[in-house]
C-alpha cells in the first residue's frame, strides 16, 4: 500500500505530479478525475469561481474519505488535491488520482471519492457570473 496524499492549495494543480504519486508497478490501472471550471450552467455564463475552504477540517474530512474508500476497495494509492482562491474558466479545481491492480477498483473508488468529497468536505464555491453578480453555491439554499 502506498502512502496517500491530500492537500488544499492556492496554487495551480499539477495533475501529472499528482498522478505520478499513485503510479506503481504493482498496479495495472490508474484513474485520474479532474474537476474544471465550466463556463455555462443552466444557461448562465460563469467568468470565474472563488473557492474557500475550512482547511483544518477539510484535511480531516479528506482523510476520512480515504479511510472510507479503503474500507470498500482494495486500492493501491490515493492522491487528492483541491484548489482554493480565484479560478478562471478551464482551470482545475480538484484532482483525484487512484491506482489499483485492476481497473474496476480504481474507477469505482475514484467515483466514490469525488461524490463523497462534494458531500462532506468543507469547501465552497462562489459563482462570478458574466452579468457582474456573484452567488455562493450552497446546495439546498436559494440565495436570491
Amino acid at each position: 500500500m502506498k502512502t496517500d496524499s491530500i492537500s488544499i492549495t492556492d496554487q495551480p494543480i499539477d495533475y501529472a505530479v499528482l498522478t505520478e504519486q499513485v503510479r506503481s508497478h504493482e498496479c495495472g490501472a490508474v484513474v485520474l478525475f479532474m474537476g474544471t471550471v465550466r463556463e455555462m450552467t443552466a444557461g448562465k455564463q460563469t467568468v470565474a469561481l472563488d473557492y474557500e475552504a475550512y482547511p483544518e477540517m477539510a484535511d480531516q474530512m479528506l482523510q476520512q474519505l480515504i479511510d472510507e474508500t479503503r474500507d470498500q476497495w482494495d486500492v493501491h494509492g490515493i492522491a487528492i488535491e483541491h484548489r482554493v482562491g480565484h479560478l478562471t474558466l478551464g482551470e482545475i479545481s480538484v484532482a483525484i488520482a487512484v491506482s489499483s491492480a485492476h481497473r474496476k477498483e480504481a474507477f469505482e473508488a475514484g467515483r466514490f471519492l469525488i461524490d463523497r468529497l462534494k458531500e462532506i468536505v468543507p469547501i465552497w464555491k462562489k459563482e462570478n457570473w458574466s452579468d457582474g453578480t456573484t452567488e455562493w453555491e450552497h446546495p439546498g439554499i436559494k440565495t436570491e
Binding site: E119, I120, P122, H138
Partner: protein
C-alpha cells in the same frame, strides 16, 4: 447557570452575511449544538437567510444536535458545502 461565550468560525456565505470570520455567541453552561444554533439565530439576525441550513462542526468534525459544547472546543458554522 453560568453564561459562556463560544467563539464560532464562519465560512462562505455565513462569513459574508455576518461580515466577520469569527463571532462570539453567548450561551448558558452545558449548552448543546441545538441551543448554540438557536443562540446564533437570536444574536446574529444577519444570518437569517441561512437559517435552518447551517451546519455546525466541533473540533473539525460534524456535530450532532445533542452534542455538548465547551469554550475549549473549536466551533465552526457554515452553509452546505459545494466543493469539487
Amino acid at each position: 447557570m453560568t453564561a459562556q461565550q463560544i467563539q464560532v468560525r464562519l465560512f462562505a456565505r455565513a462569513r459574508e452575511l455576518a461580515d466577520s470570520d469569527l463571532i462570539s455567541v453567548q450561551v448558558g453552561a452545558g449548552t448543546t449544538v441545538a441551543r448554540l444554533r438557536q443562540a446564533i439565530a437570536e444574536q446574529y439576525p444577519s444570518l437569517q437567510p441561512l437559517s435552518g441550513q447551517l451546519l455546525i462542526a466541533v473540533d473539525n468534525a460534524y456535530a450532532g444536535e445533542e452534542q455538548l459544547l465547551t469554550e475549549a472546543q473549536e466551533v465552526a458554522c457554515f452553509p452546505p458545502v459545494s466543493g469539487g
